[in-house]
Symmetry: C2
Subunit: 423 residues, 2 copies
């Protein structure tokens, strides 16, 4: 993993403003819909901001639907593969290994199922006790359905998993190791290459959930020995609420795996409508039903911005932003009883940080209700803050922590409205 980029520390608001002025990436903020009078948005790891080019793209799709009607499928049919390849390029996957379709949950189900079906003698799935709930739930269901076992590694909720812990949980019963590239709460990064090597040592396959990693941290799926991966497109890829998810299957595995949901879009020669299911060659066999064209049409808009910057430059800016955020949390929030709920080593961090505090819910809720800062609460006591580099300024990070300090010092933080968080 690349370490965080070192840069001159930012120790004043003026220096933050100056850092924004000097960084050529600052200009990309203009490519997004931003209401400047609104709160500071640090929740792009939950729902990314909207690129300004999204609406024109979706209107163009609607125009095509209105004019071409069924004929539009002549080009829409390519979308799952074409957009998939584009996402693949951001995560180190060569063409023909990524497709878009369904939700992250459904994709995870399909690939976990396919991985176990390919190795009938192995019935154990290894996962992280602190992984995102849907990952744990899906795997619990997949393992249970075949009388297998979901073995949860009792990870450190802040530091995440190291390769030694992963290796220690493995044995020849393990068919699949399913972990997240970046932890949804603490932002801890997994050493994907190391974990893949450990899994392969016992003959297991790996499946990465990259929902909090794709478009944020450097990922090199092909080089780092990934077998399978999934991720959403509505966080760092800015595809919009509920935009369809993607999945990756390493090329030489594709024709050896069969996913369980046998729809016509995954069949060889689907428009023959012939009897009996025969999986298509390559990635198409991992599709099931008709692709969500309206939802897919907007995804290109977000990818364009990331491609224009490039993942390396984006990651360098992310590292500077999260370093500043961590430093300001230490200076301003630690004296108020908060602490960083993320690895202290910048090289182990992803694109967001957690802040733990007994009044984390009150802090999150009041900061939103007062129009100051939007983060999100994660039980039991963490606020997640993501300074997404395409549209978050250094001065936003500075100001956000100042505002959070004010809220945290307010006695009202102890009596917030009842909780109801989403995504």
């Amino acid at each position: 993993m690349q370490p965080a980029t070192s840069a001159e520390p930012i120790t004043s608001r003026e220096a933050a403003v100056e850092a924004d002025r000097r960084d050529p990436l600052s200009a990309h903020r203009d490519a997004f819909v931003v209401e400047e009078s609104g709160p500071i948005y640090l929740d792009g790891n939950s729902l990314g901001r909207q690129p300004r080019s999204t609406a024109p793209r979706i209107l163009a799709l609607l125009e095509a639907w209105g004019r071409e009607l069924i004929g539009g499928w002549d080009h829409w049919i390519e979308l799952p593969v074409r957009v998939g390849d584009r996402i693949g390029a951001l995560i180190g996957a060569g063409p023909g290994q990524v497709v878009i379709g369904d939700s992250t949950t459904v994709n995870l189900y399909k690939l976990a199922h396919a991985a176990l079906d390919a190795q009938p003698a192995r019935t154990t799935i290894v996962a992280d006790s602190h992984d995102f709930p849907t990952v744990r739930y899906v795997l619990e269901g997949v393992a249970g359905a075949r009388g297998g076992q979901l073995r949860l590694i009792d990870s450190d909720p802040v530091e995440g998993l190291d390769v030694t812990s992963v290796a220690g949980a493995l044995d020849p019963d393990v068919g699949l190791v399913c972990l997240s590239g970046v932890n949804y709460r603490s932002g801890a990064r997994l050493d994907l290459a190391g974990a893949a090597a450990a899994a392969h040592d016992v003959g297991a396959l790996v499946l990465w959930d990259l929902s909090h990693a794709a478009g944020s941290v450097p990922v090199a799926l092909d080089d780092d020995g990934a077998d399978l991966a999934v991720g959403c497109s509505y966080k760092y890829l800015n595809g919009g609420p509920g935009a369809p998810a993607w999945m990756y299957v390493r090329r030489d595995l594709q024709d050896h795996l069969r996913q369980p949901i046998w729809g016509w879009w995954g069949r060889r020669d689907p428009f023959d409508m012939a009897p009996g299911y025969l999986p298509a060659a390559g990635m198409s066999r991992f599709l099931s039903g008709t692709p969500a064209v309206v939802g897919l049409a907007g995804i290109d808009a977000g990818l364009e911005e990331i491609e224009a910057v490039g993942m390396a430059a984006l990651w360098a800016r992310t590292a500077r932003l999260t370093d500043l955020l961590a430093q300001r949390i230490e200076v301003r929030l630690a004296p108020l009883g908060a602490h960083l709920f993320s690895p202290t080593d910048p090289a182990r961090r992803g694109g967001h940080l957690g802040v733990a505090h007994p009044q984390a819910w009150g802090l999150c809720r009041l900061a939103i209700d007062r129009g100051l800062v939007v983060g999100d609460f994660r039980p039991p006591d963490v606020v997640r803050l993501a300074p997404v580099p395409l549209y978050t300024r250094f001065v936003d990070v500075w100001d956000a922590v100042e505002r959070l300090a004010v809220v945290l010092a307010d006695p009202d933080v102890r009596s917030p409205p009842p909780r109801r968080t989403v995504t």
Copy 2:
């Protein structure tokens, strides 16, 4: 099933124009995007036309995403249930029994799985040999995964299934009977109440695919003893290409069934993010991942038009349109070697008709390429034609058949470009 409405026969183009003039439903055509210089569109049973209010609705969603960001989930979270109930009202389902999520294929998989899991002693699924391919493929996969059997009834490809044939295929091994309300090719309607009663007689559950029925023919799920149903929203519901699908589970079954894809949106208290999967109460347990909000936002537009007319009036007009279409096929295309590939009894027909001819592919392709009529080809030799009552005029039906007769008489119909059909 209601019979087709009888009305004075239309025997001239002038009478067709006059029928349009007299029918108050004709005005609803204005609510859709229609390029009047374009071909006559008879493929709304594959991809419905776009309501004019779709674009404003989707733009409003984009505006909400841009302004409210993550806060938009406070209302988006209700979409799967709210839009589900609205579709439910069109198919005779009381509130709390329909949700939107995923594709028809994925929903079919979930419900077929859930139905068999609830009856471990029954491993046979009964389906129709002439049903839409994805239905057969999904069921083949579900049955095979548990060592069960998919028993295909060898139905009549034109007349479809009668209740006697369904009953004859049933025995106590059958856990699930999965059939379509309207056949995708011939348009034959199934007696849903009769088929459900036959299945219940042997203790099996029923699962209806209503993709070609919902929003077209009268359906009374609650009254007719349905257990489970699924359908898409991009045909007669006009939701747009790849719009998310819906599923129905009869209220008293909901808490006894568990679907296999255990995502956080189907869990009790999803935002607790607690260990272990516990299915939510009611319909929410049939959800898996994050709902496709961008795709969902447009569905209301199509529903609004159908609600404004009402299913009874819509169906009465459908019956008049298909009667005229059948009559014109007989008069103009039969002498050219074509025949109706749909039940001759109007009471057994749905919203579209099939026309069989050895040069069906050439007929379909040339009619499209020459900008005359858009139907769609279904192997081996059928063109489907759907005069969708919200936007198809009587004169369109008249003219479409005239144009098809010209194409069919053209020697070029025997040498069309190679086939590549979609959806």
